[in-house]
Amino acid sequence: MFIKLTAFDLSLAAVLVVMLGVLSTYMKLGVAKQLYIAALRTTVQLLLIGLVLKSLFENTQPLFVLLVCFIMISVAGWEILSRQKRKLKGWWGFGVSTGSLFVSSFLITLLSLFIVIQADPWYNPQYAVPLLGMLLGNTMTGIALGMDRLTQTAWQQRPIIEQRLMLGESADKAISDIRSEAMRAGMIPIINSMAAAGLVSLPGMMTGQIMAGAEPVEAVKYQILIMFMISAGTGFGVISVLWLISKRLFDDRERLCFKRLLKQSADQ
């Protein structure tokens, strides 16, 4: 008794978005354009991944699954970078964000595919792709927040960092407070959603499984699994970016090295 949605159902929902956009234009709130673009992106991107998954299910090739995974990770890495007010120059920026996503999402997805879910074969796209997608989506937010907080706060607190250096503190110590603040900023979304799960919000994946007719308790187990994976992934991911960036913010003589940062207008 799974109710299929028609194009008409979706266009009803789309009307709501358009109404919001019109209201925003009328009230000069300035989000209409971004809202339309984002809505359009979501439609196109989701339809595409739907098609990709469909063809993956019909013809399961490990190389093809991996390729899809790497594209997802690279796009997520790029997305993190575009949300930064100040990013590392050159390939460092992309390298750090993508590398940390690799640690946080890809490795954790592999771990759970092999050890927890024991999917057969392990690259079974029915599990691999959605799991990775959920992890990426959530850790991406955490990493982007943590990174942005670190570089922004370091930039603003430059005199304090230099003061601490003058007092003979190591670079690592001089930025430690800012780093733990950034860590908190990155972890707050997942900590909040774990705390609110079930009481305030019913998480998306569980809701989806239940609507698709899954046994609620089974859906809950999957949701708990994914929550743990997301929090571990976000945590490890944020720790690794903070470590890498805070290393990169100082030169070999423990001097602040802001010329390695590039300011960009973050309009997202």
Partner: protein, 201 residues
């Protein structure tokens, strides 16, 4: 070799600068704003990029870790910064005796840093810096925000420290009279060069 030895130091468009300072010696430094005085101190503390060599007790700056160097070659910037809530949190051991010698009448250790005046920050900044027992003091207009009475206490405190440890100091100031009072030799930076000024400037 001298206690503190600066050889062919160059930074931005300043230098080469050569200067030898002995223990217990205070060097007075002045020069127009923007002439590179603060930059010189920052280079000596290894906070800015520079070329040339700096030796303390025959140990070259870049042969030891930067933070170890900075604990020994300590810079007091024109403005000091305080990032925790109370004064005491910035100290390992807050000494009320020493604070009194710098003109504080009550126990300032419990004070909120937000209520410190710039002059108070300057004096407490010196106390905080001296906790590391540095061998070289780099003082960037340290008494600019102090009234004459506290400025005198500050001068006495620094000279006492320099003579007893013994350490050496470079004292940047616009006050020529003060420099004559506290330093054995006076220099100025002009056109990127360090020039010794005759007594009486």
């Amino acid at each position: 070799m001298s206690f503190f030895n600066i050889q062919a130091l160059e930074y931005l468009d300043c230098g080469p600068i050569n200067l030898q300072i002995e223990a217990s010696e205070i060097i007075g430094l002045n020069g127009a704003s923007g002439s590179g005085k603060s930059r010189l101190l920052r280079s000596l503390a290894d906070l800015d990029e520079h070329t040339g060599s700096v030796y303390l007790n025959s140990i070259e700056q870049h042969s030891i870790k930067a933070h170890t160097w900075r604990a020994q070659v300590a810079m007091l910037s024109a403005e000091t910064y305080w990032w925790l809530d109370t004064v005491a949190e910035h100290f390992k051991n807050f000494s009320i005796e020493q604070a009194k010698a710098l003109g504080f009448v009550s126990d300032v250790s419990a004070w909120q840093v937000s209520r410190l005046s710039s002059g108070e920050k300057q004096r407490l900044g010196l106390l905080r810096l001296l906790e590391n027992q540095p061998d070289v003091l780099l003082l960037d207009e340290p008494t600019a925000n102090l009234d004459p009475e506290n400025a005198r206490l500050f001068e006495t405190f620094v000279t006492d420290y320099v003579y007893t440890r013994p350490a050496c100091a470079i004292w940047v100031s616009h006050d020529v009279e003060q420099l004559k009072r506290i330093s054995q030799r006076q220099y100025k930076i002009q056109n990127g060069q360090l020039l010794r000024t005759a007594k009486g400037i």
